[in-house]
C-alpha cells in the first residue's frame, strides 16, 4: 500500500481526480461525457508522438524536431495532393517523409555522434524551414471530405473520436514493447548506462535509429490527424508542440536524465493536461494563461518528486535517530 501511494503514477491519478472534482464544481458543462470525449482530440495528436518520445527520453535522448517534422511532412502531403496525387497516397507519403526525417535524426545521432539534443535542435530549424520553403506564406486547403473522417470522425458509430482510439491503441502497443520486451528493457538500460550496454552487446545504435525513425513516423501520423482536423496546411502548424509533448512525458514521471519512467504515467499526464486545458477553456481562461500554467506544471513536475524524496528521507531518518 505504501509503495502504491509513493508511486508517481498514483499521485498523477489523484491529481486527475482532483481536477475532475474541481472543474465539475466550477463549470456545469465539464462532466458531460460527449464534451469530455470530444475534448481529447486536442491532446491525442500530441499523445501519438508522446508514446515514442517516452522511449527516447528514457534512453537519455531527446527529440526537439517532432513539431517541425510534422509541419514538413504535412507540407509535402499538401503539395502532393494539390499536384494531383490521391489523398491516401499523399497521406502515405506524409508518413514516409516523417519517418525519413526521424531516420535522419537517428543517423546524425549515431553516425556523427552528436548529442541528440543538439542534432534535433538543428533539424528543428531545418524541417520547419523546409516547410516554409515548400509552402511560403500560402495555405493548402480543399481536402476531400472523406479525409476529415480520420481526424474528426467517430469510431464505429460510438461517441468515441477516432483519434482517441488510435492514441489508446498506440499507447497499449508501445506500453507493451516498453515494459514487456527485450527492446524495452534495452531502452532502460541505455538510459542508465550506455557505455555498459555497448560492452554487453546491446545494439545501442540500432535501437536509437529505430526509436528516432518511429518517432518521425508518428510525427507523420500526427500531421495527418492534425491536417484532417483543421482541414488545411500551413507552414506554422503544430508550433510549440514539442514543448507540450516533452512536458507531458516529464510530468508522467519519465526522468529527463534517462533510465526511469512508465507508459501509464505518460498517458495519465496527457489526460491530466488535457482535462485541465479543457476545464480552463470552459472557464474562459485565455490560451496564453494556459501556456503559463503548462510551463509551471513542467517545472513542478520535476521539483515535486525531489521535494517528496527529501521529505520521505527526513521522516524515515527521524525514528532512526530517536532509537
Amino acid at each position: 500500500m505504501k509503495k502504491l501511494i509513493g508511486r508517481w503514477e498514483f499521485l498523477l491519478f489523484l491529481l486527475l481526480v482532483g481536477v475532475f472534482i474541481l472543474m465539475s464544481n466550477l463549470s456545469p458543462y465539464f462532466l458531460n461525457l460527449r464534451n469530455l470525449l470530444d475534448s481529447t482530440v486536442h491532446f491525442t495528436e500530441k499523445g501519438v508522438i508522446a508514446v515514442c518520445m517516452t522511449f527516447i527520453i528514457i534512453s537519455g535522448n531527446m527529440d526537439l524536431s517532432v513539431a517541425s517534422n510534422m509541419a514538413m511532412s504535412a507540407a509535402v502531403m499538401g503539395i502532393a495532393y494539390r499536384a494531383g496525387l490521391g489523398i491516401f497516397p499523399a497521406a502515405l507519403l506524409c508518413l514516409l517523409v516523417g519517418a525519413l526525417g526521424g531516420l535522419f535524426n537517428g543517423l546524425v545521432v549515431t553516425r556523427v555522434k552528436l548529442p541528440s539534443m543538439v542534432a534535433t535542435l538543428a533539424t528543428f530549424s531545418l524541417y520547419r524551414g523546409i516547410a516554409y520553403v515548400l509552402l511560403g506564406n500560402q495555405a493548402i486547403t480543399g481536402y476531400p471530405y472523406q479525409f476529415a473522417e480520420i481526424g474528426q470522425g467517430y469510431f464505429m458509430g460510438t461517441n468515441i473520436p477516432n483519434q482517441l482510439v488510435i492514441f489508446i491503441g498506440l499507447a497499449i502497443i508501445f506500453g507493451f514493447i516498453l515494459h514487456k520486451t527485450t527492446f524495452g528493457r534495452s531502452v532502460y538500460a541505455i538510459g542508465n548506462n550506455e557505455e555498459a550496454c555497448r560492452y554487453s552487446g546491446i545494439p545501442v545504435d540500432r535501437i536509437k535509429v529505430i526509436m528516432f525513425t518511429v518517432n518521425g513516423l508518428l510525427a507523420g501520423l500526427s500531421a495527418i490527424l492534425l491536417t484532417s482536423r483543421i482541414y488545411s496546411t500551413r507552414p506554422n502548424i503544430a508550433l510549440n508542440y514539442e514543448l507540450e509533448i516533452i512536458t507531458a512525458v516529464v510530468l508522467g514521471g519519465v526522468s529527463i536524465k534517462g533510465g526511469r519512467g512508465s507508459m501509464i504515467g505518460v498517458v495519465l499526464a496527457l489526460f491530466l493536461i488535457g482535462s485541465s486545458r479543457f476545464g480552463m477553456s470552459l472557464l474562459n481562461i485565455p490560451g496564453q494563461m494556459m501556456t503559463v500554467i503548462i510551463g509551471f506544471l513542467l517545472i513542478l513536475a520535476i521539483l515535486l518528486p525531489q521535494f517528496l524524496e527529501r521529505f520521505s528521507a527526513k521522516s524515515s531518518e527521524a525514528p532512526g535517530k530517536a532509537a
Partner: protein
C-alpha cells in the same frame, strides 16, 4: 630541415584549428560569392546594416555562450528578451517620460530578475537547464500576453529620445555597435582574465574536478544565468527601441539564433570551451547570411532551413575534428 617542416606544420595546424580563422575565411568566401551574384551587396552602407543587425544577437549570445560553457543551455532568451522589452514599452505607454539610458538599465534589471529565476531553478531546484528554461520560456512568453493584454506598444507611444537610443550614434559609431563593442570588451576580460571568468571554463570542462578544486560551482551557475538575463534584458530594450514597437510575439525563436551563433563561433555544446571572438564572428555570419538572402532575392523562407543546415554542419565538423584528435592521441600512445 625536417624539423623546421615539422615546426611549420605545427604552427599551421595551430592556426587552422582556431575556429576564428576558419570563420573569417568562410565569411570572406561568402562575401565574395554573394558579391559575384549581386554586386550591390558589396557596399559600405550594406555592411553597416549587417553590423547593426548582428549587434543584438551578438549581445545575447555572450550570455548563451557562458551558459553553454558551463554545460547548460538557456531557451528562455527570446521570451525573456521580449518580456523585458515589453515591460519597458509599457512604462512608456503608461505615460512616464523615462530617460532612455535609465530605461536600458531597467530592462537589464528586469532581465537580471528573470535570469535569477532560471538560476534558482537550476541550482536550488536541481532541474536540468534545458527543462527549467523550456518551462520559463513559456511562462515568460505567457506573461508578456498577460501584461500587454495582447496589445502592441507602437512608435507613437514612445518618445523620440527613446527611439534614438538604438538609432543614434556616439562619436560617429552607431549606438548599437558601440554598446555591443563595450560589452564584448568587458566580457572578453572577464572570461579570459578574471578569476571568476576562468572558473566558468573550469565548471564546464569538468564539474567534478572544479568542485574538488574548491570552486563554488553553484555561484558560477548563479552568475552565468543571471548575467545572461541581464544581457537579454538590455537586448529587449534595444530591440523595442530599434524597431519602435513592442509586440507579444517579439523575438520568438530568438534563442535558436543565439545557439546558432555560439555553435558557429566554436563553443562546444558539451561545455568547457569557447571564446567571445568566435561568438562575435558567429553572430556576424548569421546576419551576413540573412542579408545575403535578401540581397540575392532568394526566397526569404530559406532562412530557417539554412540556419538548421549551418548548425548541423558546424557541430558535425566540430565533433569529427574532436573525434580525430582523440584517436590520434590514442594512436600516439
Amino acid at each position: 630541415m625536417a624539423r623546421t617542416a615539422e615546426k611549420r606544420r605545427f604552427a599551421f595546424s595551430n592556426l587552422s584549428s582556431k575556429r576564428e580563422t576558419s570563420l573569417v575565411a568562410f565569411i570572406l568566401i561568402l562575401i565574395l560569392g554573394v558579391t559575384l551574384r549581386s554586386p550591390r551587396f558589396f557596399s559600405l552602407a550594406n555592411f553597416h546594416d549587417i553590423l547593426l543587425d548582428s549587434a543584438i544577437v551578438a549581445i545575447a549570445s555572450i550570455g548563451q555562450m557562458m551558459v553553454v560553457m558551463t554545460g547548460g543551455i538557456d531557451l528562455s532568451v527570446g521570451s525573456g528578451l521580449a518580456l523585458s522589452g515589453m515591460l519597458v514599452g509599457l512604462i512608456y505607454k503608461g505615460g512616464f517620460a523615462l530617460n532612455p539610458y535609465l530605461a536600458l538599465l531597467i530592462g537589464g534589471l528586469i532581465g537580471l530578475g528573470l535570469g535569477s529565476i532560471n538560476s534558482l531553478l537550476v541550482v536550488k531546484g536541481n532541474i536540468p537547464p534545458i527543462i527549467a528554461t523550456l518551462g520559463t520560456m513559456s511562462i515568460y512568453r505567457g506573461m508578456i500576453f498577460l501584461a500587454s493584454e495582447g496589445q502592441w506598444v507602437s512608435a507613437h507611444e514612445m518618445p523620440s529620445s527613446f527611439i534614438r537610443l538604438a538609432r543614434g550614434t556616439i562619436l560617429g559609431i552607431p549606438n548599437l555597435i558601440f554598446i555591443a563593442g563595450v560589452l564584448y570588451i568587458i566580457f572578453y576580460f572577464f572570461l579570459s582574465h578574471a578569476k571568476t571568468g576562468r572558473e566558468v571554463y573550469a565548471v564546464g570542462g569538468n564539474l567534478q574536478a572544479a568542485r574538488v578544486a574548491g570552486i563554488n560551482t553553484d555561484k558560477i551557475n548563479y552568475i552565468v544565468y543571471s548575467a545572461t538575463g541581464f544581457l537579454y534584458g538590455l537586448c529587449g530594450v534595444l530591440w523595442v527601441s530599434r524597431f519602435a514597437s513592442a509586440q507579444p510575439d517579439t523575438a520568438t525563436g530568438f534563442e535558436f539564433s543565439t545557439v546558432t551563433a555560439i555553435v558557429l563561433g566554436g563553443v562546444s555544446v558539451s561545455g568547457g570551451t569557447g571564446r567571445v571572438t568566435g561568438v562575435l564572428l558567429g553572430a556576424v555570419l548569421i546576419s551576413i547570411i540573412e542579408n545575403a538572402l535578401n540581397v540575392t532575392q532568394i526566397n526569404p523562407f530559406w532562412k530557417l532551413a539554412i540556419q538548421g543546415i549551418v548548425i548541423l554542419i558546424a557541430v558535425a565538423m566540430d565533433q569529427i575534428v574532436r573525434h580525430r584528435k582523440k584517436t590520434k592521441v590514442v594512436r600516439e600512445q
